[in-house]
């Protein structure tokens, strides 16, 4: 096993080096695409927490993403709050909103909860589009000042890249720590077998609300960063379709473990940019590609990869056992 770890370590260092020097080797266009990919990744990780780990399918993520974006936009544009405070307010505000919502909706189980979250994202989208006094209605909110801590301003795409990268690293580490912690095990117990989880002392209702709050926190932070990156937000970005894209990214990447969202997001955000020359056919190929990938790799790229690795190892072990007897 250690050989595999060493290779893994090498690959990681290479990637890290590449990542740090990325802004200088890549055009402004691809840099903005990377920034948007990382922001989308945070929402997909939030779906990984509530659905990948805790097993509760949720379409509310784009709604929470919107709540986070609007909190930051309103605080900075209308109340002239400092960017850092707005970011925290977005994260915690959305987490609180998700928790309250969870308290109400987690009396429902399985698909019923999923349908309720479809209602949530549609209602939120309706509010973003029409609640003029607060969200600026159809005009959205423009001129969101760039992110700044004290005098240090993050206006250029490169500086934003590092800012978002820091947030992504923190969220990835936090999720990895949760994944390995007792809280993470409680999530997965709920996902796999709720009755067994209860018998193992897991307060399912409370734990699901915590998972929903954490996913709200991630979406809130992602929404806030989205507001600062694009400095203009309108309701057209926070739709049911966006939520289902997060689900597609998570499932294609592999919902089992943390690398899944990374691969899924990177794949589905970068491919349409690389295949821009397809113009009108891009969405058709996107749709058919999703269907094909689900058939070929039901457990996603990472899940599928692991299975291939495992079956390869079992075959090798099987051969070894036969030899022993």
């Amino acid at each position: 096993m250690t050989l595999q770890r060493k290779i893994f370590g090498l690959v990681l260092l290479l990637l890290l080096a590449l990542a740090l020097t990325l802004p200088f080797t890549v055009s402004n266009y691809m840099l903005r695409v990377c920034n948007m990919t990382m922001i989308t990744y945070m929402c997909v990780v939030s779906l990984f927490v509530i659905f990948g780990m805790a097993g509760q399918i949720s379409f509310a993520q784009a709604g929470f993403w919107g709540v986070g974006a609007y909190i930051s936009a309103i605080l900075t544009v209308k109340l002239h709050v400092s960017a850092l405070v707005a970011l925290l307010a977005s994260g915690l505000g959305t987490a609180a909103f998700a928790a309250i919502l969870g308290l109400a909706l987690f009396r429902l189980h399985g698909h019923y909860f999923g349908f309720a979250t479809i209602g949530v994202v549609m209602i939120l989208n309706g509010l973003f589009q029409n609640w003029k006094p607060v969200t600026g209605g159809a005009d959205g909110i423009a001129n969101i000042p760039p992110f700044a801590i004290g005098s240090l301003e993050f206006a250029s795409e490169t500086s934003l890249f590092y800012l978002i990268a820091v947030a992504v690293i923190i969220i990835s580490i936090a999720t990895y720590v949760i994944y390995r912690s007792s809280l993470g095990r409680a999530f997965m117990a709920i996902r796999d077998n709720e009755i067994a989880a209860k018998c193992m002392g897991v307060n399912c209702y409370q734990t699901k609300v915590i998972a929903f709050a954490i996913s709200g926190l991630y979406c809130g932070i992602a929404g806030s960063l989205f507001a600062f990156v694009s400095s203009y937000i309108s309701a057209t970005s926070f739709t049911f379709m966006q939520s289902s894209l997060y689900l597609v990214m998570l499932m294609l990447g592999g919902y089992h473990s943390l690398p899944g969202p990374i691969v899924g997001t990177a794949l589905l955000m970068m491919l349409p940019e690389w295949f821009r020359f397809l113009q009108e056919y891009i969405l058709l190929i996107y749709g058919l590609g999703v269907m094909l990938l689900m058939v070929v790799m039901p457990d996603g790229l990472i899940g599928g990869g692991k299975q291939a690795l495992e079956s390869y190892r079992n075959k090798r072990k099987g051969v070894a056992n036969v030899a022993q007897k």
């Binding site: 959205g140 690293i169 009108e280």
Partner: protein, 379 residues
């Protein structure tokens, strides 16, 4: 618990900032490269296809006559997928391909989301959204070619109140950025004329059944309806107004007199007024020429999307002729100095706020064909 291997955690985060390879475009010094951001996929694909038709037709004509000062014009079209983030991506893409000047989409929310990138990239960009917010951005590099709502929406209100003598007007409009902004301006104009609207009804893009709104309008005894809609909803509203026996004059946005909406509504569109940037049946020689060329090339009737994009190319060509170089600063100043460039949609003169469209036409549908009644000059 085993010691948490720090390397494993770093691997998780490093992969998250996955890089990708560079896509550099080749820059050709003298030739003028126009970058076009429009919607070719998703729900709003219709407007994008028409915009592209208008641009390609203009390009063909200009390059056919040897280009400008002997230099050809080339176009790079990128799809924005119908959402704000997509528009910014497409804008950055054409920028990286070395565009000298950009033509933006007709949806104001996308223009507004591109505005910061335009200012940062300092590249002259013509946007075709009509919302007044665009001028408010005070972005020196962004030019609003379309006649802004301030003129067209006010013209609808004035025409309804003064010419048609309507006293109790009802307003019905989509909740998208275009219609909401226009409705606001019209409401204010009507209030200034002391005939405030007695009822304002809204619907969401994609709604099909307008019965609730129209039933309320019929019950309110309104003597006229002002409406701002996209193409499909325009056809729907004209049809449902007739099918609910609401016999009052209707003054709609430009969508109401496009061939598409008239094909959908058929004879229900009879007598509908509209304040239009462009109508395919405009008898003026250069407009009729465009309509004929367009129909010959695409087997489709032209409409305002293709007309305004067609004009945008000619406005850029005019500026390029005077600037003589594809340098961005020079092109910007040349664009700002565009004076009385006669287009098929309107005559273009960029004012201090970089708004170019100067006039709209009052039109009425008679025997299935929109007839121009009068032209309203904003300035």
């Amino acid at each position: 618990m085993k010691k948490m291997s720090f390397r494993k955690i770093l691997s998780v985060s490093a992969v998250a900032v996955l890089g990708c390879f560079l896509s550099a475009g080749t820059a050709n010094a003298q030739e003028l490269k126009i970058g076009v951001v429009t919607t070719l996929t998703g729900e709003k694909a219709l407007t994008g296809v028409y915009s592209r038709n208008g641009i390609m037709l203009a390009l063909e004509e200009i390059n056919g006559k040897g280009g400008v000062n002997g230099k050809k014009i080339s176009v790079m079209i990128e799809d924005d997928g119908g959402n704000d983030a997509g528009a910014v991506n497409a804008f950055n893409k054409v920028l990286s391909l070395g565009a000298d000047v950009v033509i933006g989409p007709i949806y104001s929310t996308m223009d507004l989301s591109m505005s910061p990138s335009i200012k940062k990239a300092e590249i002259p960009t013509l946007v075709i959204g009509s919302s007044n917010d665009i001028a408010k951005q005070k972005n020196p590099w962004m030019f609003q070619t379309r006649t802004a709502d301030a003129v067209s929406a006010a013209a609808i209100a004035n025409y309804a109140a003064k010419k048609l003598g309507l006293k109790k007007v009802a307003i019905l409009h989509d909740t998208d950025n275009f219609a909401s902004g226009a409705a606001e301006v019209a409401t204010k104009t009507l209030e200034d004329l002391k005939v405030p609207p007695i009822l304002v009804e809204k619907y969401n893009t994609g709604d099909k059944d307008m019965t609730p709104q129209l039933a309320k309008i019929r019950a309110s005894g309104a003597d006229g309806i002002l409406a701002w809609s996209q193409l499909v909803e325009a056809g729907l509203i004209m049809k449902q107004i007739q099918s609910m026996d609401i016999k009052v004059p209707v003054v709609g946005s430009n969508s109401y007199v496009t061939k598409i909406a008239l094909d959908l509504a058929k004879d229900n569109a009879e007598g509908v007024y509209s304040v239009a940037d462009y109508v395919y049946s405009n008898p003026a020689p250069w407009t009729a020429q465009f309509a004929a060329n367009y129909k010959a090339k695409y087997k489709l009737e032209s409409e305002f999307n293709s007309a305004m994009n067609y004009d945008a190319v000619y406005v850029i060509a005019d500026a390029f002729k005077r600037a003589g170089t594809n340098d961005k600063k020079a092109m910007r100043d040349a664009l700002a100095a565009v004076k009385e460039v006669v287009g098929v949609s309107t005559t273009y003169t960029f004012d201090a706020n970089n708004v170019g469209g100067t006039s709209v036409a009052i039109v009425q549908v008679r025997k299935g064909v929109p007839q121009i009644i009068e032209s309203v000059r904003g300035r």
